[in-house]
């Protein structure tokens, strides 16, 4: 399993692919939309992340005959989805803990 935690751009790329298979430009726009315009990935950063995710078998290319070579979609693998769930679970635990600590301090 790949080590966690993930950086925010990689997490957003995975979340983008969790919904549906997407090609590079679609991921780029979805990440920007999800982050409210705060995270704008460059193509270099995006494809560096995609290469590493492919290498770790977190994502895979969707082989479609009709899709052009420069617009190949990517999708999450079962391994990627499982690891994403683990990361989200970790963040949920952290958020819960933070809320409790803050509430205790305020009380």
């Amino acid at each position: 399993m790949e080590p966690l935690p993930l950086t925010e751009p990689v997490l957003l790329v995975l979340l983008s692919l969790a919904e549906q298979p997407r090609h590079g430009y679609s991921i780029l726009k979805d990440v920007e939309r999800m982050s409210g315009g705060r995270v704008k990935l460059s193509t270099g950063t995006l494809y560096g992340a995609l290469r590493r995710l492919l290498e770790g078998a977190w994502i895979e290319r969707v082989e479609e005959d009709e899709s052009p070579r420069d617009r190949r979609p990517y999708r999450l693998t079962s391994r990627g989805r499982r690891n994403l769930q683990l990361e989200v679970e970790r963040m949920r635990h952290l958020t819960k803990l933070a809320a409790l600590r803050i509430a205790r301090k305020e009380a």
């Binding site: 790949e2 080590p3 966690l4 935690p5 993930l6 950086t7 990689v10 090609h23 590079g24 430009y25 780029l28 704008k40 990935l41 460059s42 193509t43 270099g44 950063t45 995006l46 494809y47 560096g48 992340a49 995609l50 290469r51 590493r52 995710l53 290498e55 770790g56 070579r69 420069d70 617009r71 190949r72």
Partner: protein
């Protein structure tokens, strides 16, 4: 810019370029079309982001190849091999030292102006200093990339994989 972008792509390893080059150019074109109607500042930010992303990505890919492990520069924070750990405190200390150097130079400049009015300064002003620092960083990055590229060409990274006693011709 597309021509410059293609040129920057040549900084990447050839395997990487063959695998992702066409896709990257296509995505870049779409993204550039998005900002073409934007303000001058937006277009400059876009170009700077793309150029920096490519430079950083190229160095990262070469390092990954030379290390022989793609996990060396991972997508997790500061996640390097145990024997090559880069402590977070170093970043903090380097930032403090850098800020200290800039402050000292500014102070020296102020003192010089105060006590030697009219004399020509040998210290550059802060914008010039930052510009020179940026230039120096770029030149260093190019040199490092050149060294890594040369090492990759000579196959020096394969030496670490050779087991003692094995036949070198295999």
């Amino acid at each position: 810019m597309p021509r410059f972008y293609r040129w920057l792509l040549y900084l990447y390893p050839s395997l990487y370029r063959r695998a992702y080059g066409d896709e990257m150019i296509s995505v870049f074109r779409d993204a550039q079309a998005d900002v073409s109607d934007g303000s001058f500042g937006e277009r400059i930010c876009f170009r700077a982001r793309e150029a920096w992303g490519l430079l950083a990505g190229a160095v990262q890919e070469h390092l990954s190849i030379i290390s022989g492990r793609y996990q060396l520069i991972s997508f997790t924070r500061f996640n390097m091999r145990p024997e090559f750990r880069f402590p977070r405190s170093t970043v903090f200390l380097m930032s403090i030292i850098f800020a200290g150097v800039i402050l000292a130079m500014e102070k020296a400049h102020t003192i010089q102006v105060k006590y030697a009015a009219g004399a020509g300064s040998i210290w550059p002003s802060l914008p010039w200093f930052l510009g020179l620092a940026l230039l120096f960083t770029c030149v260093t990055a190019i040199l490092v990339w050149g060294i890594l590229f040369a090492l990759g060409r000579t196959g020096a990274h394969r030496l670490a994989k050779i087991q003692p006693g094995t036949n070198m011709t295999n």
